[in-house]
Symmetry: C2
Subunit: 410 residues, 2 copies
């Protein structure tokens, strides 16, 4: 990939993504094989006067070797210093840039109970720290870089080199970076559009949304009373604007924990813990998943649902027009960051406090009273289709069409 274009992407991530402030600590999480791009991000961060940049390199191939070779007991011994390292940065009000660059299906040959035991042990140790990002106590941003393995999964018919190039092209397009533009400005405009959708939805103040399509989805998702539709950039508690996800095309809201009923069919596979779950559906009764099936990866789905009490309830409902650029590209990325932005989706697990008015200043108990869900997981799955219909139902029973044939009607 052209280095000037890479630098443009790095600059966008640092400026529009985490928007690192002068003197602030920036923590970058990256795969070791992406050290060159990580280096560009560090250079760009120091240009805008970051106080310090710390890069945590991980290596998915080594994690895979660990999973294959270590005992479950060894894997589940999560050292305290990992907690301390993250806490150190959060205590300093750091911002976090995560560079996703993984190979979908890499862990397919690993026993899934081993993976979920590890995941649970890790979440148990680390979850007290998750609130920092959930509450936007510092800025954070997730972006992606292609790997050969990922590219071959997305474009199985292309040679490695061409596949990698095609995935690069798709990613840069999705984050609106090209040779001749100013992506920082384009993101500002894009943000205005998403904020407009939010303002219309917030004015309607729907009590619930009714989703139907030809896959068989027929689902009522109740929204919490004080709900707040959010999309595009966020504000940190220190009032710094940032873009948590690049790309992002969604506007999202908080389901009322005990008020979802009906059945939803996933429209895309879900890559979770390096494994793929496909052709699955859930039935909800008073908010809880009371039935589910998956043609592929049902055991993974089961362990996901059994993570804790909250993992069987929804934490997020998100709307994305089927005619959004990512959706029109018609590429299945096997990576939530992209696929969730190509399709309406729901998330099992924790909800975002920002989706309740005043939620950022509420404690767990107050949030629960508002109808929020709490969990160590937050897993998005896609259910949008070209024929998806969404009706908003107000408290007085009035129905308003929100989506017709997969798209926003406003």
């Amino acid at each position: 990939m052209d280095k000037a274009l890479l630098r443009k992407y790095a600059s966008l991530a640092v400026r529009s993504g985490v928007n690192v402030q002068p003197g602030q600590l920036l923590v970058i999480n990256a795969q070791a094989n992406q050290y060159e791009f990580a280096g560009l991000c560090v250079e760009e961060a120091y240009k805008v006067h970051a106080g310090k940049v710390m890069v945590n390199y991980v290596d998915e191939n080594l994690q895979h070797l660990d999973m294959l070779n270590c005992t479950t007991e060894t894997l589940c011994d999560i050292p305290d210093y990992l907690y301390e390292a993250r806490k150190y940065a959060q205590d300093k009000k750091a911002c976090f840039l995560s560079i996703v660059s993984e190979t979908p299906g890499l862990f397919a040959d690993v026993d899934s109970t081993k993976i979920s035991s590890y995941q649970q042990a890790r979440n148990k140790k680390m979850s007290p720290l998750y609130r920092y990002m959930m509450n936007n106590e510092g800025q954070w941003c997730v972006i992606a870089l292609p790997t050969v393995g990922w590219a071959k999964k997305v474009f199985p018919d292309l040679e490695e080199k061409e596949a990698l190039q095609a995935l690069w092209k798709a990613i840069l397009q999705s984050v609106k970076v090209d040779e001749n533009n100013d992506p920082v400005e384009i993101w500002t405009q894009h943000d205005k559009k998403l904020k407009y959708y939010c303002s219309v939805l917030n004015k309607h103040h729907f009590q619930k949304l009714h989703f139907t399509n030809s896959l068989g989805t027929d689902l009522y998702v109740g929204l919490v009373k004080k709900h707040n539709w959010v999309g595009g950039s966020s504000l940190s508690t220190s009032n710094v604007q940032f873009n948590p996800n690049m790309p992002t095309e969604e506007v999202f809201c908080m389901p009322d924990k005990y008020n979802t009923n009906g059945t939803v069919y996933a429209s895309k596979p879900l890559s979770y813990n390096g494994k793929v779950i496909d052709k699955f559906n859930f039935t909800f009764t008073d908010g809880k998943v009371t039935d589910y099936h998956a043609e592929k990866g049902e055991d993974i789905l089961k362990s996901l649902l059994e993570s804790d009490e909250g993992s069987r309830y929804l934490g997020e409902v998100a709307l994305i027009s089927y005619n959004s650029p990512l959706s029109l590209s018609n590429i299945l990325f096997y990576e939530t960051l992209f696929d969730e932005n190509a399709s309406c989706h729901l998330a099992l697990g924790a909800s975002y406090p920002e989706n309740v008015i005043g939620g950022m200043n509420m404690d767990d108990e107050q949030l629960a009273q508002e109808g929020a869900n709490d969990s160590i997981i937050h897993v998005d799955f896609m259910f949008g289709t070209p024929d998806l219909k969404v009706e908003g139902i107000k408290e007085d029973g009035q129905k308003i069409i929100v989506f017709d044939k997969g798209n926003f009607v406003f």
Copy 2:
């Protein structure tokens, strides 16, 4: 580089180097851009049933950017979790493989007081943990991989690609790895030769060594009474054999802290904290450096000597025949791991407890009573030349030639 040869090198490092034991934790320290070789080491370690392998990736280019852009105050704020991470591994009796792969002179544009402030802050935090390796409480091994920057420094007249290949060749030769051999067996034989030198030197039980050559060196180095010449493989306190340095050609001993007198001229440049010190000499009076000069990098030398009380005293004296393979290659590596094995050398700073009989079970005070030096630094510098003469002087005044024209006479 040919992958089969790389794997052979990785296998040697894991087996003859750290000799990781079944169930044991192995910690690998590597540059992020060497992730492929690190991966081979991990694979080889699991083949011999390592319990777990943890890889800490660092990135010298990012360290360089930090040094240029962070304030000294920020740099010197060493997080506690770095101490905890190392302590976690040491508490588990881990073995450590360090893969050196640095660019000499990379930090030339950084203010040297900034570097030494950082180094001191780091040493202050971490030094309680250094004893683990000094005492061989677990196995440890240092090996090297080439970088383009390093290769161009060593072979400035070659193109990047050729230089890299030449450095690869020199490194693999120095660690005795080639397509057709069994390096593990060759290292066993090599170890026997070094152990023979040690046994002869230990039998002579010299009181002091007298070094002279045409550079102007005229130095008496007193040895501690209970000294123990060591070379090649070491034994951990759990009785596991390992090779701390690959390559290694040296046999080394402990100078008596207050009993070195005369002047020594360095015969090779010294790369320290990414900077180069060249054409330097020291004058010792009763063990202490009382005068010094350097044509290049005298300020670095000064800050090195001022690290603490012990940094002005010797901690090691090492003998290497001038006709050893590394020496005959006549390559200046600008990297202590190699250059120290091509030339007789001394080290300023901490001595190794294993160089005193029973020293591994002594505390600081007992070691000091034996004549050991303690310091947060241990920095080797080379002074061997083709005309170096070494005379051993026994307690009764008897003189025995140890080196003539740069080589062992035994």
